[in-house]
Symmetry: C2
Subunit: 184 residues, 2 copies
């Protein structure tokens, strides 16, 4: 098993130690290399260090105060114009557009690369998404063609490697040839 | 950079060499360890080896004939009842449910783990998604609470490591503190 898949944890306590832009760009590079449907690469990233903007994002993200400790909040957006040029776009949690499902999927692939790369680099991160589009969008000036896929605190862990969260047993998620056929 | 992130490719030519169930279960194990919103773990997997079912899936997936060469098609579905118990569910490409966006995101995270683990294990794979829910669902008997997120051929590569597909330059996808602010 790839070591980083096993060892990665969602970390919610950070040291005050800073993370350099070079390190953040290396994480984004790992996302840049992700696969995407039709190679559309819908992802964009905003590296947030401004205390005022961090505070506003955290307030929009259900006031998760632990996020403040991280030196960087990395925001990932996904661009629907990779798939469909015609607007206006109304991208929110209740949108029905098929292309929105595709760009959310593709941005998620890229973010998982980034989380595994953070683990590889000895950094700590936690994907958060407890916000509404309407609250986050104006803080960052995100245009209407972008969907905000995650706000990811990045820093150095201030907690010892936590135990893994409980997972469903493997055998409950595997079928053979047809749904419901658990026995090979 | 994590080696597997750099070396992973979408492979569309496979040897006739078989892949053992043990290897497929190890891939699913990597998906099982993925993070998910509220640890909901919405993913399920169907390991398809039946020639008849493979052919039907490939027909539904835009007759991509190259898929036939792979010994296994791994189908990933995402379960909306991890998020919302009340049905009936109408999960298709045009659904507006916010929970559908969340489970597509979380299944995508798990599938990216699986693709990187395949690379780690010397296996070849390619995420495909050129199908409609209504076409794939009846082939496998997928219940209405599941959304089919991908059909992933898995095997051994019969092509030399292809060059990476072109990617957007890093600097086009990074902003600082606010959308549109490219200069640090």
């Amino acid at each position: 098993m790839l070591k980083e898949i096993e060892s990665r944890r969602s970390i919610r306590k950070y040291l005050t130690r800073d993370v350099m832009d070079k390190q953040i760009l290396n994480l984004i590079e790992s996302a840049r290399l992700a696969p995407s449907g039709d190679n559309t690469q819908p992802w964009n990233f905003i590296v947030v260090r401004s205390a005022a903007i961090k505070n506003a994002l955290i307030a929009a993200d259900h006031h998760q105060k632990w996020m403040k400790e991280a030196p960087v909040l990395l925001v990932c957006t996904a661009d629907i114009t990779c798939r469909r040029k015609d607007g206006p776009f109304h991208l929110d949690e209740n949108s029905s557009e098929p292309e929105l499902k595709q760009i959310i999927r593709d941005a998620a692939i890229a973010i998982e690369n980034l989380l595994l790369e953070a683990e590889h680099d000895g950094l700590a991160a936690c994907w958060t998404g407890w916000f509404d589009q309407k609250d986050v969008r104006p803080i960052l000036g995100v245009p209407e063609n972008q969907y905000v896929c995650g706000i990811i605190p990045i820093g150095y862990a201030a907690e010892a490697h936590p135990a893994p969260r409980p997972r469903r047993p493997l055998e409950t998620m595997v079928y053979y040839d047809s749904w419901g056929n658990s026995i090979k």
